[in-house]
């Protein structure tokens, strides 16, 4: 069974992402409300993928993904960025950060799981 970690400071986004994935898949979904918390949970629980919000107070998406990259324990975990707008120029930034894909907010709760599966080429 896949386990997904959602890191976002916004309670509504966290809740909808979690509920949407739980309704449409059998994955276990964990959530974290800040970058610090997210990195800690990722290290201790080793999820199969991380959904990471870009703009958070404190440790934001950029800093969190760098920490995940530096840590040998979390380096291998695919990271999908959650971001509100996507400018063409920003794409290279996400890739430089080691992101696998970007999910644009607002996402469709009905197809979020599908977007993740497609991005990570999961076939279950």
């Amino acid at each position: 069974m896949k386990r997904i970690l959602v890191i976002d400071d916004e309670a509504d986004i966290r809740e909808i992402a979690q509920a949407s994935l739980e309704i449409t898949t059998a994955w276990e979904v964990m959530t974290a409300a800040s970058g610090e918390e997210g990195v800690a949970i990722a290290t201790s629980t080793q999820p199969d993928a991380i959904l990471l919000d870009m703009s958070m107070p404190g440790i934001d998406g950029v800093a969190a993904s760098q920490q995940l990259q530096r840590n040998p324990a979390t380096r291998h975990i695919p990271v999908i960025f959650l971001t509100a707008q996507l400018e063409t120029a920003e794409r290279s930034k996400y890739e430089a950060l080691g992101g696998t894909a970007v999910v644009v907010k607002p996402f469709d709760p009905g197809t979020l799981a599908q977007q993740i599966k497609t991005a990570l080429a999961w076939t279950d």
């Binding site: 916004e10 290279s92 599908q114 497609t118």
Partner: protein, 862 residues
């Protein structure tokens, strides 16, 4: 027709009751606001006439309360206050018209008629209540005692028919006529079966036996049963996959049951294959299309439910935006407040769409862009209008359209953009298909390939193009351009021929484009615009020449026009006819600020032409003009069935009773007299547009598929044919029909057949462009009109559609095994196969029959 009069002045009330009764209206009189509110809740009115100064609850408050509670009865305010501020207040509170006391009884009656005329009998008030049943056609939901009934689409239509016509007896054949299209009409026994099932469900829900059989005649609602029935244990949560998804009570928080490793489920059919959380310990079944769609719907309805809890904090964020905008207006916005507002707009943009407010996200995004711009204080008017619209939208319920968030296939838009720069081949962009900017939420985005040297085009040009609803793909070499063209065809190309290596190569590329893609719009965008430069472009068969000296907005306008002459901006368009240039000037300055596009017209001789080219959402007419006066123009419009529902507003300096009477008599909707004030005019225009949009949606859509219905589909097609004739464009009419649909219905049941149709309609929307016509002609017959499209291209699109449909394996609802659905189609081309609708329809139909005779699963050209 039943009218509620809320008036506390006894003398006036008596006079009004007498006048209205003499016109055969049934009139109820309420002497204060609270009483009026009580009346509205127990009886159904066709119109409410409302005084403003009322004891207990005043007219404005009552009107607001009505609209908040989904009462859509037309409201006419009758008040002594004549200032335009009061009128604006009344209209903004949701009234449809405003008339000042004292007034002539004739004018009042004329206004009453004008309002009633706009109410088609079947469209009276969107929400219908009968006993404890409540039908909301916008959401296609019927509730009993506030609980949602889980009905199949057919059961819904059936119950809707009864609820809309509470006293009428319907024979089996009339029911067939209303609910089934004639091509696949089943026998009367099917009607009986559906009635039986519906009765059973209603009984289970505690609604009693509300459908009464009148032996030998038919069925009708049984008035006595509605209230008397005892409330039984509700068992109406139908497990049928086509039924409405019951609210996932508590399911969100339910613990996820342990589920076997996905690898151990080899029989899994589709991507979205995993158990729903309601899954039991039974062996996991293969997840069907229906189930995965149902789960997606469930996830969406969960998000809409979550809105209840997040509404307050979200509205607080809007309040913060309002404060920031007010501070900007007063030039007192601190850096901190501005930063906070930017952040807030950003967050709203990211979240509203998920709750079912895609337009909310678009509005917040527009706000964010303006707030982050160089001079937000210079755009205060626009900011204010956006915030107002945002708040208004959030006070309405979230959209229920299941496909509104997933209409665009997620891979189509991204392939090209991700690939083009070459630098980021691995990064995928998953996209929900939501509009990611601008207010053009409804329009499918067009992609334009821009071929130009790096940095040669100013960034604000891109921003403008983007906000106009176009998607840009930039490349800097001809080689990259060729690659994009071969992989992911854009809708248009904008190219500066002065691109490396030489201008000759750039010009030669224009010729190459003309050869390879004769119908692709290509715009030459050049800084060199002398006559010899233009000539060089023409010689290389470049088509549209745009000088870089032109203002960017004009360039965007040309591109939009050329890409799709019928691409209707979400901005409403108003055609204003007046021979006074001062008035036209004032309108063109004033209305765009409010997001209304104005097409001014001074010459009435051009009227009909302008009308059919601009396709306005509203018409403003002056009365006295040379050649043809406004009254005559209004009559021309009303005489043509295409325009019978176009809102018409008169703007005139004449305000004698006779003129006003004439105006309403000939079918005008509203009247504003000159000199007018900006807020009043704008409020009246918005009011009309909003009302019309609501009625249009109800009248033009096929409820099952969300496509146009037969009537409007054909009307629109005829109109496009006229345009094709005028602009010498090719156009194609496609008729398609699901193979063996009768068998599908018999074997799998009608609910399942409905689901197949919905799925097909969903796929159709993916393969056509925004300007194309898609209609359900009846039964399983769909009609598609492809404008500006060669027959080969039409064949390609329809083949693509057939392939998409064949990809789906439809699981039998009850038994193991699945089947594939295919369709047959006939394509007729204008002008090759005919020049009018009947001949094209015949030709397409013949081709369809040929395709069928070849065994189906086939597309035939006429």
């Amino acid at each position: 027709m039943r009218i509620l009069l809320v008036e506390d002045d006894e003398t006036l009330a008596a006079a009004l009751v007498e006048t209205l009764t003499a016109q055969y209206y049934a009139v109820d009189l309420a002497s204060d606001g609270e009483m009026g509110w009580e009346y509205v809740q127990v009886a159904k009115y066709d119109l409410i006439v409302l005084d403003l100064n009322l004891p207990h609850l005043d007219g404005i408050q009552l009107c607001q309360r009505l609209r908040q509670h989904q009462h859509h009865e037309p409201v006419l305010i009758l008040a002594a206050q004549s200032s335009s501020r009061d009128k604006v207040r009344g209209l903004d509170a949701g009234a449809d018209d405003y008339i000042t006391k004292p007034c002539s009884m004739d004018e009042l009656l004329a206004r009453v008629r004008a309002l009633l005329r706009r109410q088609e009998p079947t469209l009276r008030s969107p929400v219908i209540t009968w006993g404890e049943f409540c039908l909301n056609p916008t959401a296609c939901e019927i509730t009993f005692q506030g609980k949602l009934l889980a009905l199949t689409p057919k059961e819904y239509s059936l119950l809707e028919l009864f609820l809309r016509n509470p006293s009428r007896v319907f024979s089996g054949s009339v029911i067939l006529e209303h609910i089934w299209a004639f091509d696949d009409a089943p026998g009367q026994e099917t009607v009986r079966a559906h009635i039986k099932r519906l009765r059973r469900k209603l009984k289970l829900a505690g609604g009693g036996d509300i459908i009464e059989t009148i032996y030998g005649i038919g069925y009708r609602l049984n008035d006595g049963a509605a209230a008397a029935s005892p409330a039984l244990e509700t068992g109406a949560t139908d497990a049928s996959p086509t039924g409405m998804i019951p609210a996932p009570d508590g399911q969100v928080d339910a613990p996820v049951p342990p589920i076997a490793e996905p690898e151990s489920k080899p029989e899994v059919k589709l991507e979205s294959a995993s158990e729903s959380i309601a899954g039991s310990s039974a062996p996991p079944d293969a997840v069907t299309v229906n189930e995965s769609m149902a789960m997606a719907d469930q996830a969406r309805s969960m998000a809409r439910l979550a809105w209840e809890r997040f509404r307050e904090p979200t509205l607080e964020r809007v309040t913060l935006l309002e404060q920031a905008v007010a501070a900007l207006e007063a030039a007192a916005c601190s850096e901190a407040l501005l930063a906070q507002a930017q952040q807030t707009a950003h967050k709203l943009a990211g979240s509203l769409g998920m709750f079912g407010f895609p337009e909310g996200s678009a509005l917040a995004q527009a706000l964010e862009r303006l707030l982050k711009g160089d001079q937000p204080e210079a755009n205060v008017d626009q900011l204010e209008a956006l915030v107002v619209r945002l708040r208004e939208r959030l006070h309405q319920p979230p959209t229920q359209d299941a496909f509104s968030l997933s209409g665009v296939p997620s891979d189509r838009r991204n392939n090209g953009t991700a690939r083009s720069d070459g630098a980021e081949p691995h990064l995928q962009v998953a996209n929900s298909g939501l509009p990611d900017s601008g207010l053009l939420a409804a329009v499918g985005r067009k992609r334009v390939l821009v071929v130009d040297t790096e940095g040669a085009i100013a960034p604000d040009f891109y921003a403008l193009v983007h906000s106009a609803g176009l998607e840009i793909e930039r490349v800097t070499t001809l080689e990259q351009a060729r690659q994009v063209l071969s992989q992911n065809m854009p809708d248009g190309v904008l190219i500066d021929p002065a691109i490396a290596p030489t201008i000759e190569a750039g010009l030669a590329f224009l010729g190459e484009l003309a050869d390879r893609f004769p119908s692709l719009p290509v715009f030459t965008y050049s800084a060199q615009d002398s006559q010899s430069d233009r000539l060089a472009v023409v010689r290389h068969r470049g088509r549209t020449f745009l000088s870089k000296a032109l203002p960017p907005s004009q360039v965007v306008q040309v591109i939009l026009q050329a890409l799709d002459p019928l691409m209707q901006p979400a901005q409403p368009t108003v055609l204003a006819v007046d021979d006074d240039p001062v008035i036209l000037d004032r309108l063109t300055q004033l209305l765009p600020k409010w997001g209304i596009q104005v097409v001014p017209l001074a010459d009435t001789k051009e009227f009909w032409n302008a009308l059919s080219v601009t396709l306005p959402d509203l018409l403003i007419l002056d009365i006295e003009m040379p050649h043809a006066n406004g009254i005559e123009l209004c009559q021309i419009v009303r005489n043509d069935s295409t325009w019978s529902s176009l809102p018409i507003l008169f703007l005139s300096s004449r305000h004698d009773a006779e003129t006003i009477h004439t105006i309403y008599h000939i079918g005008a909707d509203d009247y504003v007299h000159k000199p007018f004030t900006e807020p009043e005019l704008v409020a009246r225009i918005f009011n009309r547009l909003e009302r019309n949009r609501l009625l249009k949606n109800l009248a033009e859509m096929d409820q099952l598929t969300g496509l146009l219905n037969r009537h409007y589909g054909i009307n629109k097609l005829k109109h496009y044919l006229q345009l094709s004739l005028r602009y010498q464009q090719e156009m194609n009419v496609v008729i398609l029909d699901i193979d063996q649909f009768r068998y599908v219905n018999d074997e799998y049941g009608y609910d399942w057949g409905d689901r197949v149709l919905q799925w097909l309609a969903h796929l159709v929307k993916q393969v056509v462009r925004s300007g194309d016509i898609t209609a359900r002609c009846g039964g399983d017959e769909l009609m598609i009109g492809l404008y500006c499209c060669s027959q080969a291209d039409a064949l390609l699109r329809i083949s693509q559609l057939l392939q998409l449909l064949r990809l789906e394996e439809f699981q039998h609802p009850t038994q193991p095994g699945s089947c594939q659905i295919t369709f047959s189609a006939g394509i007729a081309a204008f002008p090759k196969n005919g020049s009018d609708f009947p001949s094209l329809y015949r030709a397409a139909n013949q081709a369809l029959q040929q395709a069928k005779s070849r065994g189906g699963n086939h597309i035939e050209l006429a």
